[in-house]
């Protein structure tokens, strides 16, 4: 096994039976591995639990059984500082770009907040932000706008570059383009590829679109009835 990889080991997720709902098994015994610089595609129709799986891999939700290994350590056994490192290094990007930014914060604010979180001194914020805008190819004026004043494609680019500020090793891309139109989709996919070759990032690409998956990934799996079929 690669020690540097992000690995899902026999993950299962079951929702407990509640007062009004019966329990439901979302997926069972799912294992796969994401290597840095490579893309693992995850395909399946809606409601199959792809997003849940993505959230489990990103550590936002706990699996019922099985665990996610990051650099050989399972998530559940991580110490506090390891957990913080994991939080930084494994990021997730969501489907709906209009939802990715707090509607009440200006873009510039949202970005400098992340920089502050990273401990970048205030004085270097503007240069860092400018650097980031160059990678996105967006004009500087977007910083003084609210998310609702920016188009979906531009927001998705900003969301991606905000994530890149954290310099992650792995990104879970949860349907990164399915809310976007074809021309913007093409732009985002190309941007993702560029980033990958530049920074050697590993992607877990979740999509229901087979063509997107084939275009982007080195290997992929299909989630069907809670089982994962891996296709190289």
């Amino acid at each position: 096994m690669f020690s540097i990889s992000l690995r899902a080991d026999r993950l299962s997720k079951t929702y407990e039976a509640g007062l009004l709902s019966t329990g439901k098994c979302i997926f069972r015994e799912v294992s796969f591995e994401i290597r840095s610089g490579k893309t693992f595609g995850l395909m399946g129709s809606s409601g199959e639990g792809k997003s849940t799986l993505g959230r489990v891999v990103a550590g936002l939700e706990k699996a019922t059984t099985g665990s996610v290994y990051y650099k050989g350590t399972p998530l559940t056994l991580m110490k506090k500082n390891e957990k913080i490192a994991f939080r930084r290094k494994v990021q997730i990007m969501f489907q709906d770009p209009t939802d990715a930014f707090n509607p009440r914060k200006k873009i510039g604010h949202a970005i400098s907040e992340v920089l502050a979180l990273l401990g970048v001194p205030e004085a270097r914020h503007s240069s860092k932000t400018e650097e980031m805008l160059i990678t996105t190819g967006l004009p500087k004026e977007v910083l003084s706008r609210y998310p609702s004043q920016i188009s979906g494609g531009q927001l998705q680019r900003l969301a991606l570059s905000r994530i890149l500020l954290l310099d992650p090793e792995y990104i879970v891309l949860d349907e990164p383009t399915s809310a976007l139109d074809v021309s913007v989709q093409a732009q985002i996919l190309h941007m993702l590829k560029e980033v990958q070759t530049e920074r050697n990032t590993g992607y877990l690409l979740i999509s229901h679109d087979e063509i997107v998956i084939r275009f982007m990934s080195d290997s992929y799996g299909v989630l069907e009835n809670g089982q994962l079929k891996i296709i190289e």
């Binding site: 929702y15 407990e16 509640g18 007062l19 009004l20 709902s21 019966t22 439901k24 849940t52 959230r55 990103a58 550590g59 936002l60 913080i84 939080r87 930084r88 494994v90 990021q91 997730i92 990007m93 969501f94 489907q95 709906d96 209009t98 939802d99 990715a100 930014f101 707090n102 509607p103 009440r104 914060k105 907040e113 992340v114 979180l117 609210y146 998310p147 609702s148 004043q149 969301a159 905000r162 994530i163 954290l166």
Partner: protein, 322 residues
């Protein structure tokens, strides 16, 4: 969505979804307001017909009372404790006559607005703050804390308020500094519930999830991502809480459980009734505070309802602008 989440959501869907909607829509139409006044203006501007006029009337009245409370010396001809001949009828010198100890009733009325509204707003502030904090914590952390807090809320909900305050008022020194926290502490449940359901929903928003993923602290997320977006749930709740606190204050003062040194409208009413105003048929003494209380509460409630229905109106329009 998980079945469990679906269950939670369907139970609190009424406020949550409609609010979310107005949220989106407002973000589109007016981008960077922060100032409540502008919001009020927007509501009044947008509504047509009877409803709009009621709203505008409410805002106008409210502004009037606010002015009265903030700058009483502009309106009141005398200081509230200045003494003249008692039991005078209305005249040019004393617009509403004088009371049993010779204070000018009109001046007393103007200064009384200050006390009434202070109690109302301060108690509402306390209750909104408590409700918002508990609601956010319950909604954000979910799990055991949620159940605990909401269980606690239910307990508070069934406490009979006015009797309790009467008992407390009888034992403690009657003073508005006791009244405010007591009223605040006993009326936060509905705010907490609404806040919680909205928080449950905001928690699932992409920006909250990505903030969690980027490693922002819970405190940071709750204060900068969730709290500002609760604004259009909390503002109407705050207004309605103010109105209800003012009603409670008036009823308690009328029962004589108030601070005599700080005369509110309720205290005035009580004095008018128990110190001869009623027997002497001095309507200029006992009606004005009653009218003021009623109008002020109506104006605040109108604003509150206006803010609250705003979201629902948009849903009825049925259009998603983007």
């Amino acid at each position: 969505m998980s079945p469990e989440a679906a269950h939670i959501e369907s139970s609190c869907i009424t406020e949550a979804c409609t609010e979310e909607y107005s949220e989106k829509k407002r973000e589109i139409s007016s981008l960077n307001f922060k100032f409540p006044g502008e919001l009020l203006f927007k509501i009044s501007g947008r509504r047509k017909g009877l409803k709009g006029q009621l709203n505008r009337g409410g805002i106008f009245l409210f502004v009037f009372f606010l002015f009265m409370a903030l700058f009483p010396s502009f309106l009141a001809p005398y200081a509230p404790n200045e003494r003249f001949t008692p039991y005078k009828e209305p005249s040019w010198d004393h617009f509403l006559g004088t009371n049993d100890i010779g204070n000018d009733i009109f001046s007393e009325l103007v200064y009384g607005s200050r006390i009434s509204m202070t109690v109302g707003f301060a108690a509402a502030l306390v209750s909104t703050l408590i409700g918002a904090i508990l609601g956010i914590c319950a909604g954000y952390f979910r799990g055991a804390l949620d159940e605990l807090l909401m269980g606690f809320t239910d307990v508070v909900l069934i406490i009979p308020k006015i009797p309790l305050i009467i008992v407390l008022g009888a034992y403690l020194q009657p003073s508005i500094w006791i009244l405010i926290p007591v009223l605040g502490l006993l009326s936060w449940e509905s705010t907490a519930r609404v806040t919680r359901s909205k928080t449950l929903q905001l928690r699932e928003a992409g920006y909250v999830k990505s903030a969690r993923c980027m490693g922002f602290s819970s405190w940071h997320i709750m204060s900068t991502d969730i709290f500002p977006n609760l604004y259009n749930v909390l503002l109407p709740k705050f207004m309605l809480a103010t109105a209800s606190a003012m009603i409670s204050e008036a009823s308690l003062s009328f029962l004589g459980l108030s601070d005599i040194s700080m005369k509110s409208w309720g205290t005035m009413l009580s004095f008018a009734f128990f110190r001869g105003g009623f027997i002497r048929d001095m309507w200029w003494w006992y009606t004005p505070p009653g009218i003021c209380i009623t109008l002020c509460i109506i104006s605040i409630a109108l604003i509150g309802f206006g803010l609250e229905t705003q979201g629902k109106e948009h849903v009825r329009e049925g259009a998603d602008a983007m």
